[in-house]
Amino acid sequence: MSAIVSLRDVSVHFGSSRAVDGVSVDVKPGEVLALVGESGSGKTTLIRAIQGLQPVTSGEITHTPAPGARPAGSDRSRGNRGVQMIFQDPTGALNPRQTIYEIVAEGLRIRKESKDEAARVARALSRAGLRPPERFFPMYPHQISGGQRQRVVIAGAMVMEPDLLLADEPVASLDASIRGEILALMLDLVGETGLSILVVTHDLGLAWNIADRVAVMYLGRIVELGPTEQILGSPKHPYTRALLSVVPETNRMEQQILTGEIPDSRRIPVGCRFHPRCPLFQSGTLPDEVASRCITEDPDQLDSSANWSVACWAVAAEGKPEDGSVGA
């Protein structure tokens, strides 16, 4: 099955700042892929590049619309309308002076798709769980709750019948109780429309709740990629292991709190970019030949076609993860 969107060695640099620094990954049709990592790891920059809002410095992003993901007859001639985005803060994303109807119809109007506008707005609203949709048409954002606002944002994306939804921390600003409802809605949309979702989050519980695969990003690079059960169950990369150990609800692991913060993307360390904070490297227990690679050689990028892939010299020296490959 071909990917909905395929990234090959994508870099986005801002002057000397290497926000995204060699990323290869595919989003498959109908999958939920979670992109996790600390602030400043380049997640937002990467999804802005996928959406076409951010030119890439090098590499290639190919978007192949999924056959059948959208009803026949829709206009595919205009760029990447098949890629839609939802943001963290629904309140900030909605114009307070527009009605819910106008907000949801806006994408259609921008693209001058006035045919069946009301029916399409109604369908998008009810798909987002706002039923009966007509009741919401005349309302303003301040008249609905925070959870409903995020549903309106989702309806505004779904009205374009995208095949890829990019979601940047879609529930981080919502209450815990509402969080589950919105995540369930996202899963339903995948089931009902065949949509793919790339969701950016630092909430590993969210990934456990909805993601088929997890990509772990550190300082502009994906360092581990694989099925959710494996990545969250038996992570291989020392960075993934540390992240998982500090999730408050996983008391089963000994906490590995990394010191300091992610380095500035203008000063990516040579060798393995994680080595100054890597607990495994810093422990001094690595064999010399591995440790010397950590400080001199950048582990290769992941093999994005493998089931499970890790960019770490120590993991490479140990052997391959189960039916996967290591990027080294």
């Binding site: 600390e38 602030s39 709750s145 925070g146 959870g147 409903q148 209450d175 815990a176 109780s177 509402i178 969080r179 589950g180 409802e181 919105i182 995540l183 369930a184 899963l187 630092h202 909430d203 590993l204 519980g205 456990w208 709740n209 909805i210 959710t228 059960e229 969250l232 169950g233 540390a242 992240l243 998982l244 500090v246 999730v247 408050p248 609800e249 996983t250 008391n251 089963r252 906490q255 709190i257 990394l258 010191t259 913060e261």
Partner: protein, 320 residues
């Protein structure tokens, strides 16, 4: 038993808004022992910050309170302005919600940490304040050269550490932290939580920690109080409450934070339909009944009080 550092009895707080009275806290009671840590959780608008701010009388003018608050043996509502000033910072200190963005942009971090010491005259001189701020920076894990940094030069995690240092400036017995980690990412949150755990180990600091993330509280709090519509609806030892919630609202909140690896929550996010109630227009009876999966007829007429629901535990639900 030693005297509690804080004792709250039947506290009610009603804001006066242009649209009428807003009963934000409606009868809350709890004690906090010396060195104890209480976690307050609940959806946005349930009254957590209102409660926290009231403990140092930091509510807006015109707000009506009733009930009793005893802090370090003193009746909070009877304090003179001077007595109140002495309580703030030196007995109890708050790290406000959103304060991460409220540091003074044109003053160095070091100066801001010195400020409460000067105001409360806990130091005799500028030099002493500077020495103390250096110590505090070390205590919260900040390098001394950041004393000269301005807020915009600091990351979110570093700013949160500055705020904690500032709160500790006058060596309070009680630290109230309102959503101190909400804006931080996973690893920085872990660093701040570890710092708070360490501060508590070093001294007999009592803590009230507010967040909507129940799972965080299992890590920092000895005891957990869950608020809904201005009242505590369940309380008890934190891990016990998180893992074996008895109140239907707590159950829903706890389920919203999946245990990674638990097959029951895999591809099955769990939420709670409906919206939190508005304080001005509470439903009759148990305020949770419009959203409660277990609601019965009587729930729309009776508002249950807290009742014992196990060792050291209480819940307010007709089913208990």
């Amino acid at each position: 038993m030693s005297r509690p550092v804080l004792s709250v009895k039947d506290l009610t707080i009603t804001y006066n808004s242009s649209a009428g009275p807003v009963p934000a806290v409606r009868g809350v009671s709890f004690d906090l022992a010396v060195g104890e840590s209480l976690g307050l959780a609940g959806e946005s608008g349930c009254g957590k910050s209102t409660l926290a701010n009231s403990l140092l009388r930091l509510l807006p003018e015109g707000t009506v309170t009733s009930g009793e608050v005893t802090i370090d043996g003193q009746d909070l509502f009877a304090l003179s302005p001077g007595g109140l000033r002495a309580v703030r910072w030196t007995t109890g200190a708050i790290v406000f919600q959103g304060a991460l963005h409220a540091l003074n942009p044109v003053q160095t971090a070091g100066r801001q940490v010195c400020e409460p010491m000067h105001i409360h005259e806990t130091v005799a001189s500028d030099d002493e304040a500077r020495a103390r701020s250096r110590q505090l920076f070390e205590r919260v894990g900040l390098s001394a050269n950041l004393l000269e940094a301005y807020p915009h030069q600091l990351s979110g995690g570093q700013r949160q550490r500055v705020l904690i240092a500032m709160a500790l400036a006058c060596d309070p017995q009680l630290l109230i932290a309102d959503e101190p980690t909400t804006a931080l990412d996973l690893m920085v949150q872990a660093q701040v939580l570890a710092l708070i755990a360490e501060l508590r180990k070093e001294s007999s600091l009592s803590l009230i920690f507010i967040t909507h993330d129940l799972s965080v509280l299992t890590y920092v709090a000895d005891r957990l109080a869950i608020m809904y519509a201005g009242r505590i609806v369940e309380q008890g030892p934190s891990l016990d409450v998180f893992q074996n919630a008895t109140h239907p609202y707590t159950k829903a909140l706890a389920a919203a934070f999946p245990t990674i690896g638990d097959p029951a929550s895999r591809r099955a996010p769990s939420g709670l339909a409906g919206d939190p109630p508005t304080p001005g227009a509470l439903p009759p009876g148990c305020p949770f009944h419009p959203r409660c999966p277990l609601a019965e007829d009587r729930c729309s007429t009776i508002e249950p009080d807290l009742r014992s629901s196990g060792p050291g535990r209480e819940a307010a639900c007709v089913l208990i």
